[in-house]
Each structure stands twice: as C-alpha cells, then as structure tokens.
C-alpha cells in the first residue's frame, strides 16, 4: 500500500493536445496525469473565418475529450480567440459572439488563453472584450503573457487591464508563462501565476523550482504548454523529479503539481475528478 501512495499524481493544466500524437496521452497517463486542460490557442496560422473557430471549439469540446477518454484521462478546455489573431478585430468580434454557444458544454472551464502578444492597441481592445465576457458569464480566466522582450510590458498592461475591471476577482484569474521578472508582479497583485516549462524558452525545471522556493507555491502551478513547437508533454513530472533531487518532500510536490491546480480549477463547477 505504501508503494501505491508514493506514486506521483499531477494535473496538466495547460496542454495543446490538438497538436500532439496519441502516444503523448499514453505517456502522460502513465506518468500519473489525472486531468489535462487545453486552452484555445493560435493554430500556427491565421484562421480565415469565425467558422474555423466554430470547428475548433467543437474539436475542443467533443473530439479531444473522446481521445483523452481512451486513456481514462479527463479532458477540460478554455475558449477564446488567441491574441495572435486579435489584430483582426472584426474576426475577433465574430469569434467572441460564438463563444456563448459553447460556454456551457460540460468540459469548458472558462475564457482563455486570452492576453497579449505584441502589446498592440487592437490586442488590448480584444483582451478587454474577453475579460468583460468572462465577467458577464461568471467564468474563470486564463491569461497568456507575451514572449521574450515583450513579456514584461505585456504583463504590466494585462495587470492594469484586469485591475481596472473591479468586478474581476484576482483569485479567479491565472496569469501564465511568468518568469523571474514577472512572477512577483503577478503574485503581488493577487493573481495566480503559471510557470511554463519549455526546453528552449520560457522556463527550465531548475529555474521553476527556484521561483517556487523564492515566492512560495501558494498561488502557483506548473505546466508544459506542449504544442506543435519545441515542448515536452512530460515536463511537469520531470520537474517533480527535479524537486525530489533538491530534497522537497512528496507532500510539497503533490501540493504544487496536483492539489494546487485542483484548488484553482475547482472554482469552476465543471472541474470534477472521480
């Protein structure tokens, strides 16, 4: 029985499984994944119409849950138009209009991953509309922060926009892809923060654990954000092993990679694990 209790369990709170092969579901389940959450994202190319998003939202709410269910893995998702496609505000408005058609489907956690990419005025306008939609529909929010040199500015702008919406509870918003220069800004403003583990950009496992040790794990989660780029669907359990190497207890690891994401996600009535 003791051996069973020592098995690792984790939640993968951010994975773009549409871009991954079925073997990844097998590997994640074998490593102890108890649920996978898939935010809507940029497909690597700009979609030509809102109907393309209708198909994508059907995939996220119908097809992908069935694929995950083959491995007894619960699949949840988030809906939005990604900031990389927000420069076209007419398309964005059309996509925002169809989100309510899908929002009550049984695996939809909320609105995400919204946010900024190049920190443009149109991206900001579309972000504000998403935040307002989440407020009106009483949904959780998952926020993408920009890449590389744009991250600091984008994170500051995002925090300002969210703080300006007085009806948004920071405890129901997770701001993702934080690094050492943005994690304190996010946490001090009362939001949850996500650390994304990528082999070449964003954050490595040792840096992620450094941040956990510096800022505490109370409102943090780890994710792999695996997609069609250089990424690793097993980055979270591998980081757990790195924590173990540093002497973190099994309970501290379980808190960070299982109980903590559950605590945030259970604010949505949709998130239940049998």
């Amino acid at each position: 029985m003791a051996a069973i209790q020592e098995l690792m369990r984790y939640i993968e709170p951010h994975a773009h499984m549409v871009s991954r092969v079925t073997d990844d579901y097998l590997a994640m389940t074998t490593a102890g994944c108890q649920a996978v959450c898939e935010p809507a994202f940029w497909a690597g190319f700009d979609r030509g119409s809102a109907e393309g998003f209708r198909d994508y939202f059907s995939l996220l709410t119908e097809h992908e849950p069935k694929r995950a269910a083959n491995f007894r893995l619960p699949h949840f998702c988030w809906l939005c138009i990604n900031p990389k496609e927000s420069e076209d505000t007419k398309l964005a408005d059309e996509v925002l209009a169809i989100i309510p058609d899908f929002i009550n489907r049984p695996n939809v956690l909320g609105i995400g991953e919204i946010g900024l990419n190049k920190n443009s005025r149109n991206e900001i306008s579309v972000l504000e509309k998403h935040v307002d939609l989440a407020r009106r529909l009483n949904q959780l929010i998952l926020v993408h922060t920009p890449h590389l040199e744009d991250k600091l500015k984008g994170t500051r702008l995002i925090i300002d926009i969210l703080k300006n919406q007085k009806q948004i509870d920071p405890g129901r918003v997770l701001i993702d892809h934080v690094e050492e220069h943005t994690a304190p800004l996010v946490l001090e403003a009362g939001f949850w923060a996500g650390i994304t583990l990528y082999p070449q950009s964003k954050c490595t496992p040792p840096r992620a654990i450094d941040m956990v040790e510096r800022y505490g794990s109370d409102r943090l989660w780890l994710n792999c954000a695996c997609d069609w780029g250089a990424s690793d669907p097993l980055a979270v359990p591998k980081t757990a092993l790195e924590m173990r190497k540093r002497g973190h207890s099994d309970d501290a690891i379980d808190f960070l990679i299982y109980r903590n994401p559950c605590r945030f996600l259970r604010q949505s009535p949709v998130f239940t694990l049998s």
Binding site: N117, S120, H147
Partner: protein, 89 residues
C-alpha cells in the same frame, strides 16, 4: 539545499552552458559584420552576472525586455526577437 549540494547538482550543467556562451561569442565575433541590438543587449546582460546583487536572472531578463508601457499602434509581426530593438547600451 546547502551550497555544496547546489554545486553538486548544477555546477557541471552551468559549466557547460558557460562554455557554450563563450563559444557563441567567439562564433559571432569571427563572423564579419556589426553588432546589432541583440548582441548589444546580450553583452549588457552578461555584465549582470558579475555583480553581487542576488537577482541575476531577473536582471538579465529586464535587460532583454521592452521597458516602455505605450501600446503598439498595430502588430505587424507575431514573433519576438529576444531583445528590445531600441536598446541602447
């Protein structure tokens, strides 16, 4: 984790990355041409490593970041370069 334990875990990896950085600079400096904003930012970020301040990773990231708050009028590209094009050393 003691300092010795941290060194035991991470020294060889960091040593390898340090040599990679040195080799990267040798490679770039062997190549004809001028430094651009990326290399100027990179050299400035390297200076942060020899300071005694405790938050070196944060300092490097800040050196490579756009420090302004004014939104872009339009996003004409989707990607990022890794350093702020207006950086002045």
């Amino acid at each position: 984790m003691t300092r010795e334990e941290a060194l035991n875990l991470y020294f060889l990896d960091a040593r390898s990355k340090l040599i990679d950085l040195a080799a990267f600079l040798d490679r770039v400096e062997r190549s004809p041409g001028e430094d651009d904003f990326r290399l100027r930012s990179f050299r400035a970020a390297l200076q942060e490593l020899s300071k005694s301040e405790p938050e070196k990773a944060k300092a490097v990231l800040l050196t490579l970041s756009d420090p302004t708050m004014e939104p872009l009028e339009r996003a004409t590209i989707k990607g990022a370069a890794g350093a702020w094009p207006q950086f002045k050393s």
